[in-house]
């Protein structure tokens, strides 16, 4: 038995109204180890680390630090003890410089000295940063580096990272892992929260697995397979993905040719020369790291931001460039944007009202400008029934539904309109496993019924499981579209970090 662990948790309980997030969790972390906290969305990982970091207080249970009882009243107290944390959502200030962002997270000190200090720390862990740039100009990887440097400058004994790779390219992930290994070699501990099995196997020395708020297993990831880890995490045997039935591609449903857009926000990305075609009965996946033009592509396709600067969009064979969202839906298109509350649905409207959101030009629901509320209500009943949306009723506010249920409602609303073309962004982002499986099944059966489907997703596993063909979006450009069986995840990862317009093209533009 080694010395007392760096951090020990005993019997942690935490409940929220309507859910027990943590139930009697024990955990111990040794100095110098990289410890994984593994679990599905909603397994209680975030709650547990918020307790460690002093954001939440447990209902029951104790924390011990180097063998002594520990009370963390606030994040500031946690930092004083030597616990640092990098959240999944960064705590950054877009309109301020990198230096200011770092200074804000530290006690008051001389700016000149801080600058030197940051440079030294950044250099010794390979974290390149330009201190005088404004944050809004930076990539997600660079932003994460700010967060890590912030933590490191406080010399933490334990660094907690919550889903750190969800915003990184595979290459950036490698860089992060090198940094983390260097930290562990110095004797610091890292608590690494993830649901990505391969990463945990590559990086972590030990893993604690949570399911439904309880600790279900401890293991050494290197001795497990991804399959065995997944079974512990999900609690049942995973069925292998159903083999995709070979389909006869039909007519082109969605065709995009040399699409270009300007950016309408100061920090936005402009799309350049995107081309792809999706035939009826086919699913195309667009992979890529967040912030590389997915949002812009989505709004160019829905028509929300007006016509593209050049290029063309055809829906079911009809030109759609000049059309707004309503006219594009009339051509047979349906859209599920990434942001559920505030974009795909309105949080403080009822489900009935929300089901009218994208059907407001359907004569079945609205004639001469007068809404037929009974018909709309029947439609929302149908959505909640057919897609198994768990709710207190169709008069519930959309904001009262869980992420998974609301997503099922939104997907259901679009699918029940039998679209010829369906564009879905992040279909299962932040959705529990059960709902994700339901949504995947529904998408697949819609394709089998002959719709052309585009899935824009950061989740490579999802794309590999669902799609017939795949392309990668990076810095507003799109890679060549390839059949899914012709590429490996590693090849896709490589495509995520580079621009896809040809060098020759750039050169010729520069000389003219």
């Amino acid at each position: 038995m080694p010395d007392s662990p760096l951090l020990q948790l005993k019997g942690i309980d935490k409940s929220f109204p309507g859910c027990r997030a943590n139930e009697g969790i024990d955990l111990d972390i040794q100095a110098g180890e990289i410890h994984a906290l593994l679990g599905e969305n909603g397994a209680g990982k975030s709650t547990l680390v918020k307790i460690i970091y002093g954001v939440l207080r447990p209902d029951h249970g104790d924390l011990w630090w180097q063998g002594k009882p520990l009370r963390v009243a606030s994040p500031a107290a946690a930092r004083r003890v030597g616990i640092g944390m990098v959240f999944q959502h960064f705590s950054l200030f877009d309109a301020m410089t990198v230096l200011e962002n770092i200074a804000l997270a530290l006690p008051a000190q001389d700016i000149g000295a801080l600058r030197d200090n940051i440079d030294a720390t950044a250099a010794s862990y390979g974290l390149a940063l330009d201190l005088d740039r404004d944050v809004y100009e930076l990539s997600m990887g660079e932003r994460q580096r700010i967060e890590i440097v912030r933590s490191l400058l406080q010399n933490p004994q334990l660094l907690i990272l919550d889903e750190p790779t969800s915003v990184l390219t595979p290459q950036e992930t490698d860089m992060l892992f090198t940094t983390l290994r260097a930290l562990a070699d110095e004797g610091r501990a890292v608590l690494y929260i993830s649901h990505k099995l391969e990463e945990v196997r590559r990086l972590c020395d030990r893993a604690t697995i949570l399911r439904d708020g309880r600790r279900v297993a401890d293991c050494i990831p290197a001795e497990e397979t991804a399959q065995s880890l997944a079974e512990k995490m999900i609690g049942r045997r995973i069925e292998q993905p159903i083999g995709k039935a070979p389909r006869q591609p039909g007519q082109p449903g969605l065709r995009v040719l040399e699409l270009r857009t300007g950016s309408d926000t100061p920090h936005g990305i402009s799309l350049s020369d995107m081309s792809f075609t999706i035939n009826e009965g086919e699913i195309l996946g667009i992979a890529g790291i967040a912030g590389n033009g997915q949002t812009e592509l989505m709004s160019a396709l829905t028509g929300e931001t007006g016509p593209p600067s050049s290029g063309s969009i055809e829906i079911m064979g009809a030109p759609a460039n000049q059309l707004g969202p309503i006219a594009r839906r009339k051509l047979g298109a349906a859209f599920v944007p990434e942001e559920r509350v505030g974009h795909a649905a309105v949080g403080d409207m009822t489900l009935v009202e929300n089901s009218f959101l994208t059907t407001l030009d359907d004569p079945a629901f609205c004639k001469h400008g007068v809404i037929k509320w009974p018909a709309v209500r029947a439609f929302s009943d149908q959505i909640t029934h057919d897609f198994d949306v768990r709710t207190t009723g169709v008069d519930a506010l959309a904001s009262s539904l869980s992420g998974g249920n609301l997503q099922k409602f939104i997907v259901g609303r679009e699918m029940l309109q039998s679209p010829g073309v369906l564009v879905v962004s992040q279909p299962t982002w932040g959705v529990d496993a059960g709902a994700a499986a339901d949504i995947h099944r529904a998408i697949r059966s819609l394709a089998e019924a002959g719709s052309a489907i585009l899935i824009i997703s950061q989740d490579l596993d999802e794309i590999l499981a669902l799609c017939d063909r795949v392309a990668v979006i990076s810095q507003g450009t799109l890679s060549r579209v390839q059949p899914i069986h012709d590429v490996t995840p590693e090849q896709i990862g490589l495509l995520m970090g580079i621009r896809h317009d040809s060098i020759a093209n750039e050169a010729s533009r520069a000389t003219t």
Partner: protein
């Protein structure tokens, strides 16, 4: 520890109760103020809140005051629902009075039956023109509609002052600012000879019902609500922001203009510098007190009208400054905004060991 939890669905009860609670709290506050001013609270409260309701003439005056408030507030509710903050209704009201009433000034000896309908129509147009300025500047140049519409209030007031002192001044007016009195053909008829209550009331009563139909039953109303609660979702549903800004401002301006010309024609019978006791601003309170719901606005309009009449009575009978009315109106809105919280959140008493609440 008192905590707030978001509600799963809007509480209809709380939504209707919070204006009532706000009213009760305002009365309590009023009592304190009256005592502080050395007045008998019971007597003063009676003068303020009940006396206007016990006589036929009082009721008639309440209805006369409630009319413009309800019309303007109904118009404003569209903008407020859509997140378009037109707070220049006062200016749009004045322009309605100027443009509509101007017709009566020009045809001051007319007996044409079309004069009155034309005036009402022109009043609406006048209000719309004044509201079109912030709409244009907002949609074309991104200029803040709050500030632009408000600046236009001051300009409208000065324009009215200029007109009634200058080119439109009554030649037989012994130098008093004001136009000629309107001809009979330009005056909205009264219901009863001895009271000022006129036909404008019918319009003020009908408008909220029409507005309720628009908001609750039509796609246009749905778009307005959508645009206000989630602009991105509205864009997703194909709602064009330019159109929403224009429509809601024009509705607000049109109804304010109508109120202005009705007041000039029905209640006053001429144009003069102070044709409005601040209706355009008070209507903002009416709109919120009525929870932006057209029928709620109808009730709220009556309540606020009572405080107007009560304030006038209190000035005469109890020697209270008229400004008390303005104070009450501000207080009522404060309380309302405070209790609004209850409709969105549930108050939960619970012992919590959370560090954030320590």
């Amino acid at each position: 520890m008192l905590r707030l939890e978001p509600r799963a669905s809007h509480s209809v009860l709380a939504a209707w109760l919070s204006p009532l609670v706000a009213l009760v709290m305002t009365v309590i506050t009023g009592t304190v103020i009256f005592i502080a001013m050395g007045k008998d609270p019971a007597a003063t409260l009676y003068i303020y809140f009940l006396q206007p309701l016990v006589s036929a003439s009082g009721l008639s005056e309440v209805a006369v005051k409630a009319g413009p408030l309800v019309l303007i507030a109904t118009g404003l509710s569209f903008g407020f629902r859509a997140g378009v903050w037109n707070i220049g209704a006062e200016g749009q009201y004045i322009l309605g009075a100027i443009v509509g009433g101007g017709l009566a000034v020009f045809f001051h000896d007319s007996t044409n039956a079309l004069l009155l309908p034309s005036m009402l129509a022109l009043g609406i147009v006048g209000g719309m023109i004044w509201a079109a300025i912030p709409a244009l500047l907002k949609t074309r140049f991104n200029a803040n509609e709050i500030l632009v519409s408000l600046m236009l209030v001051y300009i409208a007031e000065l324009l009215l002052v200029y007109l009634v002192h200058g080119p439109w001044r009554n030649p037989q007016g012994w130098g008093f600012p004001g136009t000629r009195t309107f001809p009979d053909a330009a005056v909205l008829p009264v219901f009863f000879a001895q009271h000022r209550l006129h036909w404008g009331l019918i319009l003020a009563l009908a408008t909220p019902f029409l507005a309720w139909f628009l908001v609750a039953k039509t796609r246009f109303g749905f778009r307005v609500r959508l645009f206000g609660s989630a602009p991105l979702a509205a864009r997703h549903a194909g709602v064009r922001s330019t159109r929403m800004i224009w429509m809601t401002l024009l509705i607000g301006g049109g109804l304010a203009g109508l109120a202005g010309v009705i007041e000039a024609s029905g209640t006053i019978g001429q144009l003069m510098p102070n044709i409005s006791p601040g209706y355009g601003f008070t209507a903002i309170i009416v709109a919120f007190l009525g929870r932006l719901h057209p029928l709620g606005i109808l009730l709220a309009g009556v309540v606020i009208a009572v405080t107007y009449i009560g304030g006038e009575n209190a000035q005469i009978v109890a020697g209270l400054p008229k400004a008390v009315t303005g104070l009450f109106q501000g207080v009522i809105l404060f309380y309302l905004l405070a209790f609004d919280l209850v409709t969105r959140y549930r108050l939960v008493f619970r012992r919590e060991r959370g560090p954030e609440h320590a």
